[in-house]
């Protein structure tokens, strides 16, 4: 049984300290001290994959190269996620602050913020905040420049190597790994790429200390996380919560009393049905999430939900590798055929196998994660897929 209870936290949006002071204090620390703080805090990437942030910084810092880069991934495209937009519009200086800390640790002179095309309307305000931030850096005599780049409506560009390709003016097609970005990222130079939220936490950890952060959450999921709550809930919005809570607590707080299922982690995440709320922990030891929490009540058809996801993947697949390109199409055609009655219910098992094959053979996270939502919805709501 999980021993954590739902607890609200206020780190990301808190305004009790001035960003300028935190930045000045942070820049005074030695690189080793900064890096150890991030390592000791146990912070893991908040974009979804959950790689330990400190290790990313450490590996990049160890690389010997003339040019290194910090990239902020603000290509938030996961269905059901809107936390990065909120963070960028409310506390942009903290995001830039996190980038500066990282730049100091790894020795980068240039940073890039890749903003999704759908958030073009944020750009002017962001640029203003950035100008202010650059003036702080100048005062503190720290040589670091941040540039804002725009995306143009491609979900796949949230994948780190696809994002580099896009920054280089190419089609946003993921690269083969290894080499990882810490060795060869943007312009094939060592690069740290972090999600918006991860960077803010890195910045805040330099203020509150590794221990305060480490004390939050569980052994596998330290700290707190910003959740984007939507769907059938009376109180949709952004909430910062401690990691490691049981889903049951979450549903009690945010559900409308008739919650049938929660999609944790967006279209690429997992669907948890009511009977599993109690035993599901939100965190890396249970169901990980980039923050997307979509709540469905009894009136919703899970077939429609799944179809919406599969259509999404079919369109957003970059088409580079066959398992993902053809797999997404076939999954969509398959569930439609079963629903129409053209295929027997047993065909769902064949589709499950296809999804599993995609998990093993697809080139990047997009194709590999289609099976998450597909299998968890088909397994738990089989009758809704057929009738």
């Amino acid at each position: 049984m999980p021993d954590k209870k739902l607890k609200r936290v206020d780190l990301i949006f808190s305004e009790e300290c001035s960003c300028k002071d935190v930045l000045a204090d942070g820049l005074k620390k030695s690189n080793e001290e900064l890096l150890n703080e991030i390592l000791d805090s146990g912070l893991r990437g908040r974009g979804g994959a959950g790689f330990p942030t400190g290790l990313k910084w450490k590996f990049t810092a160890q690389e010997k190269a003339e040019e290194k880069y910090v990239v902020c991934n603000a290509d938030e495209g996961e269905p059901g996620t809107f936390k990065d937009r909120e963070i960028l519009s409310r506390v942009p200086l903290k995001v830039f602050g996190g980038m500066a800390m990282c730049a100091k640790v790894i020795g980068a002179k240039h940073g890039y913020l890749y903003l999704r095309g759908e958030y073009q309307f944020l750009k002017n305000d962001l640029q203003k905040a950035l100008d202010e931030f650059h003036s702080y850096l100048k005062e503190m005599d720290f040589d670091f420049q941040i540039h804002i780049l725009m995306g143009s409506g491609a979900y796949i560009c949230g994948e780190e190597s696809a994002l580099f390709e896009s920054m280089e003016g190419k089609r946003g097609e993921p690269r083969n790994k290894p080499p990882y970005p810490t060795v060869a990222g943007f312009r094939n130079k060592p690069t740290v790429i972090n999600n918006v939220e991860t960077l803010v936490y890195s910045f805040m950890i330099t203020r509150i200390g590794a221990k305060t952060f480490h004390d939050l959450g569980t052994a596998d999921s330290r700290g707190s996380k910003v959740f984007s709550v939507s769907g059938d809930t009376p109180i949709p919005g952004i909430y910062e919560l401690e990691l490691g809570m049981p889903l049951e607590d979450f549903v009690e707080e945010f559900g409308d009393g008739d919650t049938k299922a929660v999609q944790v982690g967006g279209a690429a995440g997992f669907c948890v049905p009511r009977k599993k709320f109690k035993d599901t922990i939100i965190g890396f030891e249970g169901v990980p999430t980039g923050g997307s929490m979509m709540i469905f009540n009894s009136s919703r058809s899970m077939y429609n939900v799944l179809k919406n996801y599969v259509e999404f993947f079919e369109e957003e697949s970059c088409g580079q590798c066959t398992p993902c390109r053809v797999g997404c199409q076939q999954l969509k055609h398959g569930i439609e055929a079963v629903k129409r009655g053209d295929k027997s219910a047993a065909y769902l098992d064949t589709l499950q196998k296809l999804a599993e094959t995609m998990k093993v053979t697809a080139k990047c996270g997009l194709g590999q994660s289609v099976a998450n939502s597909f299998s968890s919805i088909v397994d738990n709501f089989k009758e809704e897929m057929i009738y």
Partner: protein, 174 residues
Amino acid sequence: MCYLINTVKKITITKLNEINMPEIKELVKQLADEHGRTRESLLPILQGIVSEERYVSDFAMTEVARELDMSAALVYGTATFYSFLDTQPRGEFVIRLCRTITCDMKGKKQILKTLEDLLKIDVGETTKDSKFTLLETNCLGWCHKGPAMLINDEIYTDLTPEKVNEIIGEYMKK
């Protein structure tokens, strides 16, 4: 046959006139001056063309290729990859309605019907006066305030059929 060729010619000529070649040449040159002439400048240049012209024509693509001294195929490859870089003529106001599940649950279908009725076009089409294009798009990141739509770069949330009526009415006056 002769008649057919003439019609084809006419169509090509009007199309080229519509594209307004000297203006695009100038625009591409300006954008290249601003963003540079490397591969990395390609995306910002294409984005600049779309924000001025609402789409990247074949002519604009070859012009970019010439200005940046790279193959037109590379430009075409990049331009056709991104859903916001339209390669077909679009209206002055491009409406992108979010079709992701949470917006769908909050009544996106009614909104779509309202838009189709108001503009008298289907999804993917442009009005005859080239003023509006109606498209669907994936998650816009406003799931807590669905249904949501973008008109060019402006965002509209918590949509209702009445609200859509009002918004489109305003744009029709522009």
